[in-house]
Amino acid sequence: MAKKKKIQSYGIFALLVVLACVFIYPILLVIQNSFKGKLFISNTPFELPNKETFVGVQNYVEGFAKTNFHKSFGYSLFITIFSVLAIVLFTSMTAWYKGKIKINKHIILYFSS
């Protein structure tokens, strides 16, 4: 009985490993392709970068320089920080009010939360 259970648990483990590989492969593929020249990504997407196709961190450098990445990142950061602050503050205030007062006529408030 114990032996059977052990085999079963190894089977589950193996299945999970296979599934995890399937799940993580696309992410690894993107990381691998980020070191290749532009043409080679669409021609040979599944091959590891070799001497011919390897371009080092050039893609990263160009990406940062050409697309104003730092600026966009700044916008995202700004919006995230201040919207989260505002949401947490105002919604908790409204929730406090709702908790203190028996609301029947302000039924619209239930939709807003």
Binding site: S9, I12, F13, L15, L16, L19, A20, F23, I24, P26, I27, L29, V30, N33, I41, S42, P45, F46, F90, T91, M93, T94, W96, Y97, K100, I101, K102, H106, I108, L109, F111, S112, S113
Partner: protein, 281 residues
Amino acid sequence: MQKYYKKYFSIFVLPTLLAYLVAFIIPLVMGVYLSFCKFKTVSDAEFVGLSNYLFVFKDSQGFLHALWFTIKFAVVGILSTNLIAFALAVLLTKKVKGTNIFRTIFFMPNLIGGIVLGYIWQLLLNGILIKIVGADITFSATYGYWGLIILFNWQMIGYLMIIYIAGIQSIPADLFEAAQMDGANGRQRLFKITLPMVMTSITICTFLTLTNSFKMFDQNFALTAGAPAHKTSMLALDIYNTYYGRIGFAGIGQAKAVIFTIILIVFAVIQLRITRAKEVE
């Protein structure tokens, strides 16, 4: 006491209420109104009655096709994501080694945004398809359809799995012990205890997948963009293309959006009714 608090209404509730009005109520009312109008910008709307709606159902714009495609996608998508996620959750609550690592890996795709996801899978699927059949994903609507299904599964399974795991872990252990004492085998325990006890999670998960698969836009946009010939465009993408793609069609796009909202609400309510009825205390 109640009166004492009432005077704080303006400070505590008004900001939220205003935001709700500006960001939800007013656009909703305006959107419904504009669906009865012919307009280029919001300010020059001219009332034309029901003609926008009539035009939508004449099917020259592919709305009905998009609706059918979306329903096909939603049925297969909901079933496959929920089944696989539930199976994974059952496996991962069985005290296997490295459960946390597996959970992290399965959850990871959910952290990637829709557009990026679409491009990742476009690269991968195109690579495979070109090797096998010598054509890319835009060649046939079948490829696009299954590509979208795979993508949706990959994105949603991790998230649903987490919900199912939480549901399974909240089942009291003595239920399983009692069942084991009574001689219930593994399958009986799964179908007679686990499944009914996680019915609340199933409600949440089917609701999430239903609304997400109907509202799907960025993945569709990035993976196939409707190719070939708008055959793989889902409702949201179809609305987007009508609204922005053709001049003078803004009103029709708006009408499509209103119909889309109503359909989604109807489906969501039906789904909630069905799954709620199966929940146990």
